[in-house]
């Protein structure tokens, strides 16, 4: 798989949005989601700035403020595990440790097979079925180590089938 985003691809995505300031976050989401490694590249930031008539610094400031955006390369799948009060009471810390060991994370929290990035998240708004996590845009609730095994295996299988 191609792990890059070309200048043309970035422009193609930006053009879907009106060049108004209230469209910036949407554009950044789209850029990040389209990148195979789920992050916003330096080149994309520069192009975004030009498109919205801002300075590179301003766009960089926006990207680094919001926790859903990354300026570092990540992986095809981003796991966001909730560690807010309800999930915490229901053992999300153990699940964090379980996932870390299962995925053999490196110092950037990326799995040894480069498929998953594990990130902590604040309340995901699914507390009635805690503990909860998201993988990219999908939500998984009532988690247990066994359920996590299934979910991760599923993602791996589907990825390799493609």
């Amino acid at each position: 798989m191609q792990n890059k985003q070309t200048e043309e691809q970035v422009l193609e995505i930006l053009k879907q949005f009106k060049p108004e300031k209230s469209e910036i976050l949407k554009a950044l989401h789209a850029l990040q989601n389209a990148h195979p490694l789920h992050y916003i590249t330096e080149e994309a930031i520069t192009q975004t700035a030009r498109y919205f008539k801002l300075t590179t610094g301003q766009v960089y400031g926006v990207v680094t403020y919001y926790s859903m955006f990354s300026v570092k390369p990540r992986s095809p799948f981003i796991i966001r595990l909730c560690k807010s009060p309800v999930c915490y009471m229901k053992g999300s810390l153990n699940l964090w440790n379980y996932l870390s060991q299962k995925l053999l994370l490196n110092e950037n929290n990326i799995s040894s097979d480069d498929l998953f990035t594990l990130e902590p998240s604040e309340c995901l708004g699914h507390c009635e079925q805690a503990p909860a996590m998201m993988i990219n845009e999908q939500v998984f609730t009532n988690l247990s180590p066994k359920k996590i095994d299934q979910i991760i295996d599923d993602f791996k299988r589907k990825y390799h089938e493609k």
Binding site: K21, Q58, Y65, S67, R80, V86, Y88, S121, C123, E128
Partner: protein, 408 residues
């Protein structure tokens, strides 16, 4: 427990899939808009005031009053805006997601009526980025409204035009705070603005802006359709209508429940949710989220309403009811909450940036002595006096209530 109350936010969601516009119309959807367009702006606002509707985003500010401020804040202005706050970042809260996924048109209908009342032509729904499903449902609902002429130019053949766009957040609790949300809507970092001016005077792009919570908007069609009397007879003396309670913890049933204001914690836990799960005992509850208050068993019979909780130093907040059982280590839970504030502090003002770290570190001490506890309370008081925005003013709520009821 009172069983004879009408559902408002979740009206008819058990009867049909209300994400389909045909079904919403079948149950009389959008009739409140038709009625409103025949009323004057002041008549609408007057009805909202008389209904006693208070904002469901946490602070409980009277909605009609906010509408009249926004309506009258300028003689001639370029533009006014209506913003729906669907950022829902308060831990333990998931009701806005539920309304958006189950009853999207009621929110839009409420926004359209509010816009007509204050004279706005442009609206935004600010949804947190994690709510993929809600974003899709709301976008589809907006598209349907355009197709059926409930949005856009000359709504229902009137002179009134109104557009709505969705805005997608990107993971920041603070962006739920109204002025910070507006900064974020302008495509900037989510740093708070100094209040005043309030959004009603200078909001989005420095124009008058009405900002309300999802649940608040979803109540407006009912008030117009059924009349303010029908609304005002639900609830308590100062908290009218129904409320969505978000119940979580080790209970037989958890989830979002629409109930009249003033239901007690005991009714909620034992009648509505069927009691605690086998092997778990009620120990405490955290009401209103991380920026909420701890309560103990002495609160089981206190009505859950703004004024009754306030009298006892507690808060209803967003409607989060996190039930804590005997198996939970309370101090670890407090540390978890202080870590949340530390993480979400934006760093713009010193009392909050440094304060949230200091209280978190001190709370992690193996043994909290009376001196530590006094110091923690003093620090949060200091933060609440000197922080720029309500985030730094919040840790005092969980910290003070915690040490009022629990010894650790």
């Amino acid at each position: 427990m009172k069983n004879d109350f009408p559902y408002i936010s979740l009206k008819n969601v058990d009867k049909a899939d209300l994400t389909k516009i045909e079904n919403y119309l079948h149950f009389g959807g959008f009739s409140a808009i038709k009625q409103s367009l025949g009323l004057s702006a002041d008549e609408i606002i007057d009805r909202i005031k008389k209904a006693g509707l208070r904002g469901r985003g946490g602070a409980g500010f009277p909605t009609g009053l906010k509408q009249s401020f926004t309506k009258t804040s300028c003689e001639v202005c370029l533009q006014k805006y209506v913003v729906c706050n669907a950022d829902e970042g308060e831990p333990g809260t998931f009701k806005d997601r539920y309304i958006m996924e189950k009853n999207p048109f009621a929110i839009i209908e409420g926004m359209i009526i509010a816009a007509y009342a204050i004279g706005a032509n442009k609206g935004y729904i600010y949804i947190r980025g994690e709510y993929e499903q809600a974003i899709r449902t709301m976008q589809a609902a907006i598209d349907d409204c355009y197709r059926y002429d409930w949005l856009g130019k000359n709504i229902a053949q009137s002179n009134f035009s109104f557009d709505i766009d969705i805005y997608i957040g990107a993971g920041s609790y603070l962006c739920g705070e109204e002025l910070t949300l507006i900064e974020s809507l302008e495509g900037k970092r989510g740093y708070p603005r100094i209040k005043p001016p309030f959004p009603a005077e200078k909001g989005l792009w420095q124009q008058p802006t009405l900002i309300n919570n999802v649940e608040t908007f979803s109540h407006i069609p009912f008030i117009i359709n059924e009349g303010y009397e029908a609304y005002a007879c639900i609830g308590t003396a100062e908290s009218k209508g129904t409320k969505l309670f978000c119940v979580s913890g080790n209970l037989k049933q958890t989830g979002v429940f629409e109930l009249p204001m003033g239901i007690t914690l005991r009714e909620l836990i034992y009648d509505v949710c069927g009691g605690m799960l086998e092997g778990f005992e009620f120990k405490a509850a955290l009401l209103g989220g991380a920026a909420g208050t701890f309560v103990d068993a002495s609160f089981l019979d206190v009505p859950l309403a703004y004024e009754t909780l306030k009298q006892k130093g507690a808060t209803l907040g967003s409607g989060a009811v996190m039930i804590i059982d005997q198996a939970t280590n309370l101090k670890d839970l407090l540390i978890n909450i202080l870590e949340f504030f530390k993480h979400e502090s934006c760093g713009k003002c010193v009392p909050c940036r440094i304060g949230t770290t200091l209280i978190y570190e001190r709370c992690k001490k193996a043994q909290l002595l009376p001196d530590d506890i006094n110091w923690l309370i003093q620090q949060t008081e200091y933060m609440s006096r000197n922080s720029l925005c309500p985030l730094g003013q919040s840790p005092i709520l969980p910290v003070k209530s915690f040490f009022t009821y629990f010894n650790v």
